[in-house]
């Protein structure tokens, strides 16, 4: 039996690779293609923004990466393993997926019950389940002592979102797939969730965030995949200042605000700040120094 602490130490990402993945939804008698020969590979622990306009196939790709949708063609490899190979099922379990508006999937009578559902289903011993659920709730800023007994639907929207995230974290994933995690949250709730995600990344977890909000993506992720019409049109690290903007602008996406700001100011884009706050600091700090000196 693995101890809970041993599992916690395993958060180091899973290398996910898609090889020619195609998927079509069945609508009546015909298939509607959602993914078209998508090929890429991500290293373990990578932080990746999955960008694309609405209907570009982001959610489908996330669910295919987790094995919830079976590709019609191609395959998803986890740490180099194919489906059916020894160790694949274990890897798949370590890929946690948080659906869009996951608070819609809360069902238990108490927050703690809901979070411990996942680990219980995995058949972990009671003590481990408890430890995992407590730790997960701590990680998302909803300590059990305060929130454990609350009914999930009595929490605020932002708290429900983070509780649903805790339900996935309790299964101790090594990589997290998030589908539009910030959608329909107020600014404070967005900031709190972003802080939780940054702490998880600092702890070594891999992160794949599907979104069309490039500002959030830019603040959280080192790489980006751009999907449009089910096709992968760009991959790898962010590129700005060398024509890389086209990868976003041509596909109904925006260039992140701090990058646009740096461009207007004529500053080198390689050192562009990650958020509006960072940009403000970078701009104000030298001025303040000048003022005092």
């Amino acid at each position: 039996m693995k101890g809970a602490s041993e599992r916690a130490g395993a958060a180091s990402g899973v290398a996910i690779a898609c090889q020619g993945v195609s998927f079509a939804y069945l609508e009546g008698d015909r298939g509607v293609k959602a993914l078209n020969e998508v090929t890429f590979s991500l290293s373990a622990g990578a932080t990746v923004a999955l960008l694309g306009p609405t209907g570009s196939g982001k959610s489908t790709l996330l669910q295919a990466m987790r094995g919830l949708l079976e590709p019609n063609e191609g395959e998803v490899r986890l740490d180099g393993l194919s489906r059916g190979e020894p160790g694949f099922a274990e890897r798949q379990r370590e890929v946690g997926i948080v659906f869009q508006t996951p608070e819609m999937q809360l069902f238990a009578m108490s927050a703690f019950e809901d979070v411990s559902f996942g680990p219980r289903q995995l058949g972990w011993p009671t003590d481990d389940v408890r430890a995992a659920a407590e730790e997960a709730m701590e990680q998302v800023g909803l300590p059990v002592a305060v929130f454990g007994a609350r009914h999930p639907y009595s929490l605020s929207g932002g708290e429900q979102r983070r509780l649903a995230l805790a339900g996935v974290l309790a299964m101790r994933p090594r990589v997290l797939l998030l589908d539009e995690p910030f959608v329909s949250l107020d600014p404070v709730a967005r900031r709190e969730l972003a802080a939780v995600l940054r702490a998880l990344v600092a702890g070594g977890i891999g992160l794949i965030v599907a979104t069309h909000d490039v500002d959030h993506a830019w603040a959280l992720c080192e790489e980006r995949l751009v999907l449009d019409g089910g096709r992968l049109v760009a991959s790898g690290p962010w590129r700005f200042g060398d024509g890389g903007e086209a990868d976003l602008v041509q596909h109904r996406l925006a260039v992140p605000f701090p990058v646009r700001l740096w461009e207007r100011l004529g500053r080198p884009l390689t050192g562009a700040p990650r958020s509006a706050e960072q940009a403000a600091e970078a701009l104000v700090a030298p001025a303040a120094r000048k003022g005092s000196g």
Binding site: I97, F99, M104, Q105, L106, F107, M171
Partner: protein, 260 residues
């Protein structure tokens, strides 16, 4: 799963373009007439008429077959029950079970009649969109308003229910996938365990449905919906020559079947 509910097959045919009221009345009349006369000749007339209508409808035969499949076991049951349990002079004996001539006759007759009935019913549902079918039912139910049956509201409820079936199916699938990713297993264990496993699916589905119903009701009120009022229609029903012709043909078939 989806096709069993949304049975409408959109196409352009002489049957698709008929007034839904005419189709409903014609088929209802034939269905009733089908049960008023027990003769193979009458059944043959109805069967032939149904086959002609099938050809006119331009709906692939596979779709009719799909409608027939769920009731096949019922037909088989009827056939077997009649075959063995109708008393009479035995033609064949299988141990204690005897097949009489009358039994064979009744068994084939009743099974064939069920098949014709299902085909005739499918003719309406396959060639009429659910929305115009509810319109037709609302119109035909209008006399009931005199005895305070809220027919308009019932029709609206049916329309809304039909409208949200596909939405609910998509949501069910999504929630199932999400809970499966959290380790839920919907197809393992005995009946009790399976029923318990449905809780993570049913609770979110109910919460979602009630929330949506609430919002829909508010949105409808905001757009001045008030119950108990007979509204005008965006697509008023128009009965033309073709619709009267359809009714005349149905009447002719019924008369022919009852005379022969």
């Amino acid at each position: 799963m989806r096709t069993a509910i949304a049975q409408y097959y959109p196409a352009e045919s002489a049957l698709h373009s008929r007034d839904p009221r005419a189709k409903f009345v014609a088929v209802a009349a034939v269905a009733v007439a089908l049960f008023t006369r027990d003769s193979f000749v009458a059944l043959a007339v109805y069967g032939a008429a149904a086959l002609v209508a099938l050809a006119v409808s331009r709906v692939p035969l596979a779709w009719y077959w799909r409608g027939l499949k769920p009731v096949l076991w019922l037909i088989a049951l009827t056939f077997v029950a009649q075959l063995f349990f109708v008393p009479g002079r035995a033609l064949v004996a299988l141990g204690p079970l005897k097949v009489s001539g009358r039994g064979l006759e009744l068994a084939s007759y009743l099974s064939l009649r069920l098949i014709v009935l299902v085909l005739v019913g499918s003719l309406v549902t396959l060639t009429t969109s659910p929305i115009s079918l509810t319109d037709a039912i609302a119109w035909l139910g209008r006399p009931l308003r005199r005895v305070r049956v809220p027919t308009e509201e019932i029709a609206l409820m049916m329309t809304i229910a039909l409208r949200f079936i596909p939405t609910l199916l998509v949501e069910t699938e999504t929630i199932m996938r999400a809970q499966r990713a959290r380790g839920a297993a919907f197809d393992r264990g005995g009946p009790l365990r399976r029923a318990r496993a449905l809780i993570p699916l049913l609770v979110p589905l109910f919460v979602l449905s009630f929330r949506r119903a609430d919002e829909l009701a508010l949105a409808m009120e905001a757009r001045c919906y008030r119950p108990g009022i007979v509204r005008t229609r965006m697509h008023p029903l128009h009965a033309g020559m073709g619709d009267w012709l359809l009714l005349a043909i149905a009447a002719a078939v019924i008369v022919l079947a009852s005379l022969l």
